[in-house]
């Protein structure tokens, strides 16, 4: 079967390792990837642990398809921990080559705890696991780190997942990067590695990865491979996600200048069309996947000549339109710098735009910005701010490195009005005043503002609903999207490939069974998705961050009407409709009005052993009711 059957524990303080078998019931209930990772996180951490405490575990998990020839899923891994941005559950996935190597080395998950005295990297050579000195890698980019490690260990095919300077310096938006361009981007996982003095994980895996039914599995992936050449992935193979720039701009849903506008006059100049014609030099792929979506952009001339980055819509938007920047050369440079320091490009861009908004509104000035003229549209200042942040240089760099929520608190005055985050995680590039199913979806996402937790923007963008209002029924759309994406992220299928599963969960369940040999029905898999979502909610509740008051929207979305002329003018999310949405969502989830899963729901999902987490929360309410009745 395609699970490795083994979980590795590594204490970074001592270098001691232990392994435990992966139990089949655990595997089936939580699948792998983020599901398995979150369950292991819950079982291996104590409530209230500080994200930077050595006791906060960080978990690398592969999926049941990692290491097989499954297109888009054979190459993946997920990282789970407690987020230094949100204080709640953190998860992120990356593809490339690293995930398959980790699986071949023999692990379904690796749980890192403790803190090394000195900067180290972990060298996993199949069964052999060693801590290696990494002092010479201090300040090196993830890509440089990978090259040096391959060189010194003497194997070209070693795969490395590493942090850059930002992670070492506990920049709260720090990412982990493997294979040059592939990022465990969101929720600050790089900073957790940094807090453990863990610079990188290097892996060589030489074991076979076998599936339960090789013949049928091979036929199945042959079909998926063929579908990948078809319409379901066309966008990713041609213009790539930057196609969204003009689409969202036309819908008045392209957040511009820190969500001050919803259309960008420079959109053409940063469009997918313009980008591909002038900057994309080659489109490459991840292991086992012939979709090939990595649009590698190179700046051919000018001050940023030579800057090379994988360009996707989100990061392009964050440092581009969102900062008022219409120069693709500066955008590519900024994304390159994010990869170089090891930072989440979405959060980085949204933090820069926050700083620009503060600057434009007189909350900070040139004395605070190391002389950078932080007006919207100043490309050099945008790039400069990213560099300050990545290295925590100057007052500004140090403050912004805390993420927009904490930075706004530190800056004070009215800065919170300009901070665009949910639960502490910065918003991605969809305006929530004009895409309101997305507004609901982003607000309830357990890892903070995220388009990839439910894909709730999709019905809005595709015109399947009235995107200018929230009404009853949206809760179900969000829930279904979430449960599906929890499955996708636990199988660790690349989301770009989600469209090739014409039969949705049916085919995913079949995929799972062919690979693992563990029988899985469509219903069971759907329920696993729901279970995983509830599990994430429970972790947030345990950490004191999982109730209704944390399912919020940023001030801009709820108090500043869209100023742009046209269809969207005046759009805003009102408290009333937002409450309708939350009530509806909690109801379909089987949660209380406070957003807490009921005991019945947890039992239905087979989470009986976690009932104590919600019992503490729900008790006072019932006793209150009784008291009232007594009167």
């Amino acid at each position: 079967m395609s699970y490795a059957g083994k979980i590795l524990h590594l204490d970074l303080a001592t270098g001691n390792t232990t392994t435990e078998p992966l139990k089949e019931d655990l595997a089936k209930k939580y699948i792998g990837g983020i599901g398995l990772g979150m369950r292991l996180f819950l079982d291996n951490s104590k409530a209230g642990v500080d994200p930077f405490d050595p006791k906060n575990p960080i978990i690398f998990a592969t999926g049941p398809l990692s290491g097989t020839m499954a297109p888009s899923a054979g190459n993946s891994y997920a990282v789970v921990s407690k987020s230094p941005l949100t204080g709640g559950i953190a998860e992120s996935k990356a593809h490339g080559f690293f995930g398959s190597e980790l699986k071949r080395a023999g692990y379904d998950a690796v749980i890192f705890t403790g803190k090394s005295e000195k900067l180290v990297y972990v060298w996993i050579d199949d069964d052999s696991v060693q801590l290696m000195d990494a002092e010479h890698l201090k300040g090196k980019s993830p890509n440089e780190t990978e090259q040096i490690i391959r060189e010194e260990l003497g194997d070209f095919y070693i795969r490395v997942s590493a942090i850059g300077e930002a992670g070492e310096k506990l920049v709260r938006i720090a990412s982990i990067i493997n294979d040059e361009f592939r990022a465990i981007g969101r929720t600050g996982m790089g900073a957790v590695m940094g807090s453990k003095n863990l610079k990188a994980v290097a892996v060589r895996g030489t074991n076979d990865v076998n599936v339960a039914d090789l013949e049928e599995f091979t036929e199945f992936i042959r079909m998926i491979h063929e579908r990948m050449k078809g319409p379901a992935t066309r966008k990713y193979r041609t213009l790539g996600t930057p196609e969204n720039v003009l689409v969202l701009n036309a819908l008045a849903a392209l957040p511009t200048r820190n969500f001050n506008q919803v259309t960008f006059e420079g959109a053409e100049k940063v469009s997918g069309e313009y980008l591909n014609e002038r900057y994309i030099k080659k489109i490459i792929g991840c292991a086992t996947c012939g979709m090939r979506c990595d649009h590698i952009g190179v700046v051919p001339e000018g001050p940023y000549k030579g800057a090379t980055a994988r360009v996707e819509f989100e990061c392009l938007w964050a440092v581009g339109p969102n900062c008022g920047v219409d120069r693709l050369d500066a955008i590519i440079e900024a994304i390159y710098q994010c990869d170089h320091y090891g930072m989440d490009g979405i959060s980085a861009g949204v933090i820069v735009s926050f700083a620009m908004d503060c600057y434009e509104n007189g909350i900070i000035n040139k004395k605070d910005t190391e002389g950078l003229d932080l007006r919207f549209g100043n490309a050099e200042a945008m790039v400069g701010t990213i560099k300050l942040m990545g290295s925590r240089k100057g007052w500004l760099g140090d403050v912004l490195a805390e993420g927009s929520m904490r930075a706004a608190e530190k800056i004070g005055k009215d800065a919170v009005k300009y901070a665009n985050h949910i639960k502490g995680l910065e918003l991605p590039g969809y305006d929530l005043r004009t895409l309101k199913t997305a507004a609901l979806g982003f607000s309830v996402s357990y890892r903070g503002a995220c388009h990839l937790r439910s894909g709730a923007y999709s019905p809005d963008v595709k015109g399947k609903v009235d995107r200018f209002k929230i009404e009853k029924g949206r809760g179900k759309i969000v829930k279904n999207g979430e449960d599906l994406y929890d499955v996708v992220d636990s199988l660790i299928l690349c989301k770009f490939s989600r469209g090739v599963f014409y039969e949705g969960l049916d085919e995913m369940a079949k995929y799972y069974t062919l690979a693992t040999g563990i029988p899985m029905t469509t219903e069971e898999l759907g329920q696993a998705g729901e279970r995983i979502n509830n599990l994430a909610r429970l972790i947030n509740i345990r950490e004191g961050k999982g109730t209704r008051e944390y399912d919020t929207l940023p001030p801009k979305i709820m108090s500043v009407p869209v100023p742009d002329e046209g269809i969207a003018k005046g759009a805003i999310v009102t408290q009333k409709e937002f409450d309708i949405g939350l009530d509806d969502y909690y109801e379909v989830r089987g949660w209380t009005k406070e957003g807490i899963p009921t005991v019945e729901k947890l039992k239905e999902l087979g989470l009986n052993d976690l009932v104590s987490i919600v019992k503490k929360k729900t008790k006072p309410k019932t006793s209150k009711k009784k008291a009232k009745g007594g009167k």
Binding site: P71, D208, K282, G285, T288, G290, R292, I296
Partner: protein
């Protein structure tokens, strides 16, 4: 004796190759009935994002690996040109590996004898699976022809541009 028009090998096109390694997985699937690139007879190399190429046995004329073998364990097929390994004679000494300029013949991690592309009985699975059509099962004279045709097309188009009447 195989003629140059018949002697086919697996040829990679670096312009099309995206470094996805599907060929490696297909090879291990065919030969080893498992997924394991470290047991693949074709290996993809990504030097940087822009330079990707998968490399398999070139079916050299007067193959140096055969010449290097001190135990007569290697033989080149007269019929197809592939390198045949006598697993009883091979002791994994690696002289053939050093003799090969392309890293195409390798030491098998389990059997500890060398292994090399055998063209899957004339239907290479890597070529069949390659999603980018970056691999070709072809002969060297056809490779040369294609290169020539491409070059002439390019030259003449450029020539046309320079001499095109107004």
């Amino acid at each position: 004796m195989v003629t140059i028009h018949e002697k086919k090998f697996v040829s990679g096109d670096p312009d099309k190759c995206v470094g996805c390694c599907v060929c490696e997985y297909a090879c291990s699937l065919e030969h080893e009935k498992t997924f394991n690139p470290t047991k693949s007879r074709i290996r993809a190399v990504r030097l940087n994002p822009f330079v990707n190429l998968a490399v398999a046995c070139r079916l050299c004329e007067d193959a140096p690996c055969v010449a290097a073998c001190p135990r007569d364990a290697l033989e080149q097929s007269e019929e197809t040109g592939i390198i045949l390994v006598d697993e009883d004679k091979c002791n994994g000494c690696g002289w053939c590996i050093e003799a090969c300029d392309y890293g195409a013949i390798q030491l098998h991690p389990e059997t500890k004898v060398v292994y090399v592309c055998d063209l899957c009985d004339g239907n290479p699975k890597c070529v069949e699976w390659c999603p980018e059509e970056a691999l070709d099962f072809t002969t060297k004279d056809v490779v040369a022809q294609k290169a020539r045709v491409t070059a002439v097309k390019k030259l003449l188009q450029e020539a046309k541009k320079t001499v095109s009447p107004q």
